[in-house]
């Protein structure tokens, strides 16, 4: 076989190429002459190579499969006396795959015809219906006034003035130093929150601690994230 007279078509995949070879040679799918088909299949791959077309790995896998089937068919079969054991044809799996593939190929053609048929029917795009919000029924101006009055009365003076509590960073710095001195220069950070325990105190204490570290008055250690922070006083 010369590679020159192969008209190089592109195939979706190895099964498509095999189907093409089978149809072209009018082969009975249930009795594939493996040697012949393998030879043609490989010739196609060779032609692809000559045209510098990248061969997808699936094609190579199929080539290997074909060669394997071919070699298994060539192997002499052990002669079994009297009883004939039904052997599994090495081609069987390939044939099943081809038949399944062919079935969907044919369904695809039918779908294509149906699609072309349906394309002749023109339809309108769906009408956009804006969502409608009808006004609530049975309400009067009195209802509105009543609702307003109820609201007006409910806003009685139920409030208290809360004075912001100021805890300064400076105060906390003093706190921390004093506490450390009273605790032999070593303590946990949490223990320095001694006033209100409010969020603002915690923030102030933390800023104070940072400040003390900057001033090299305090050294801290923490074993891991979120573990207790221990402070050591440097006098």
């Amino acid at each position: 076989m010369s590679g020159c007279n192969i008209k190089l078509e592109s195939f979706e995949g190895p099964l498509a190429l095999l189907m093409h070879l089978i149809e072209k040679n009018q082969i009975d799918i249930y009795n594939i002459p493996i040697a012949e088909v393998t030879e043609q299949y490989l010739a196609y791959l060779k032609a692809m190579e000559e045209f510098n077309i990248e061969i997808a790995s699936e094609f190579l896998v199929m080539a290997a499969t074909l060669l394997q089937i071919k070699s298994r068919l060539l192997l002499p079969r052990p002669v079994i006396t009297e009883e004939i054991i039904e052997e599994i044809d090495p081609r069987q799996e390939l044939v099943e795959r081809l038949i399944e593939y062919r079935k969907f190929k044919q369904i695809a053609e039918v779908l294509n015809q149906l699609g072309e048929e349906r394309e002749k029917y023109y339809t309108r795009l769906p009408q956009e219906f804006a969502r409608q919000f009808p006004p609530p029924a049975g309400l009067s101006l009195d209802d509105l006034l009543r609702a307003f009055a109820a609201l007006w009365e409910s806003t009685a003076e139920h409030f208290a003035v809360i004075a912001p509590e100021e805890i300064s960073v400076k105060d906390k710095m003093h706190d921390i130093i004093t506490l450390l001195r009273n605790n032999n220069g070593y303590m946990e950070f949490n223990k320095t929150i001694i006033r209100t325990g409010s969020r603002s105190e915690i923030v102030a204490a933390f800023l104070a601690l940072l400040e003390l570290m900057r001033l090299k008055r305090v050294v801290i250690c923490q074993e891991r994230q979120f573990a207790p922070i221990y402070l050591t006083l440097k006098e």
Partner: protein
């Protein structure tokens, strides 16, 4: 026919909807039995079949849809430049597999086609012909695909029940074991 005065309203509803309208929806709007809707529409289709009328009603995607008659497709084509949006052979093959094997995974599709199918599946998803319908209870819980209502409309199918009938259109040697959906 007793309800004939409702044929006007039905025609108006179908026109306004554009999309296929299920018979029971029409029935509930007009306060009649769905059975009457089928009868009325059958009469309407009959009346519309004369040459003087350019529209017809088709039963598609579990509903009724008003549309132009196929005979006038070429005339309508002159109205606009038609964007050619034909599906590739690969896309059609893949769609056929999804239609008959649904719910189906990408791997199952690939084992039948013998090639990678990611791109084709993306195309079909983009064109809303298939959709994700769940996950398979297997390793990696792969996505399961099925067909959409758009698919039914695209191919003029009344419902998925019609698919086995398609299998009967195949050449004899392929009729063996087409799985029904």
């Amino acid at each position: 026919m007793f309800y004939r005065h409702l044929q006007g309203p039905i025609e108006a509803l179908l026109f306004a909807s554009g999309q296929p309208l299920p018979a029971d929806k029409i029935a509930s709007i007009l306060n009649i039995h769905p059975g009457h809707v089928h009868t009325l529409i059958a009469e309407m289709i009959e009346a519309m079949s004369v040459d003087e009328r350019g529209l017809t009603i088709v039963e598609v995607a579990d509903g009724y849809q008003i549309c132009t008659k196929p005979a006038y497709a070429e005339i309508i084509n002159k109205l606009t430049t038609v964007q050619d949006s034909k599906l590739s052979i690969a896309a059609l093959e893949t769609l056929a597999i999804v239609a008959f094997k649904q719910p189906v995974t990408k791997q199952e599709i690939e084992s039948i086609r013998g090639v990678k199918s990611d791109r084709v599946i993306t195309t079909l998803l983009d064109r809303m012909l298939i959709k994700e319908v769940g996950r398979k209870e297997a390793v990696g819980r792969p996505i399961l695909y099925g067909t959409t209502n758009e698919f039914l409309q695209c191919f003029g199918l009344k419902s998925l029940d019609q698919l086995p009938a398609i299998a009967n259109l195949l050449p004899d040697d392929s009729k063996d074991d087409t799985k029904t959906v």
